[in-house]
Amino acid sequence: MRIAVVVFPGTNCERDTVRALTMLGAEAELVWHRETDLEGFHGVVLPGGFAHGDYLRTGAVARFSPVMTEVMRMAAAGAPVLGICNGFQILCEAGLLPGALIPNRDLAFICRHVEVEVTDTSTVLTATAIPGQRMRLPLNSYEGNWVDPSKTGRIVARYVDDPNGSQGRAAAVANEAGNVVGIMPHPERAMEALLGSEDGRVLLEGFTSSLASVP
């Protein structure tokens, strides 16, 4: 089961993401954004960072990278696609997830642990979590404030206390099918008690376990 971890110029959580997935025994490989063929990969992760410097709008430029055509193909085919933080923003810009992310209510970057509650367990990210399960995850974003005028977005996890103004306190959002998920906090940063929390494991385990079920 191979997972492609996409690297855009400006991405910076790619090595952490590979490290976390590897801890779970998954086979994760870095893929440069100019790659045009993801044949042989069973899932994709768009990691956090500042793709293309987040210039213009976060994720706006990245969604046109050559690799995104393949990401869209896999998403359509039902393969697990996960966007973490900046990856979430890119998935919204690409139209694979509803809504968009705008600056935090207080216009300040937020880097701290927040408490998140799982509200929907029928997605590739929350498959192995329990409904209502609470977890401590590191939030690390300036544009973490999700807005969805269409109100069609499926919220799969909410902040227990609203840190950034996100609509419906959404911390993670999925598409209809549940195979494309974006999450603002960083599960890959919550893999070790020594670093303050291992609550991210259940999420990434959910993701790796759903790789099997790809057509």
Partner: protein, 79 residues
Amino acid sequence: MRVTVNITRRPEISDPQGTTVKRALRDLGYSSVDDVRIDRTIHLEVEGDDPEAVRETVSDMCRRLLANPVLEDFEVVLG
């Protein structure tokens, strides 16, 4: 040819920046400020002499990259 694109945030979308700036202005004593909205203006230098063709190209750029339809409306002004 010089082209200006005005990108405005949809009214129904919250505008944390505008809200914060309004508060800051009032804190500074400008009580006469009722509303603040902050938009993006993009100045482009585009080759081509057929105004309509240029307008079309730039509108196209807006639809694809410069504006986010979920959040924003855009207006292309030639010259």
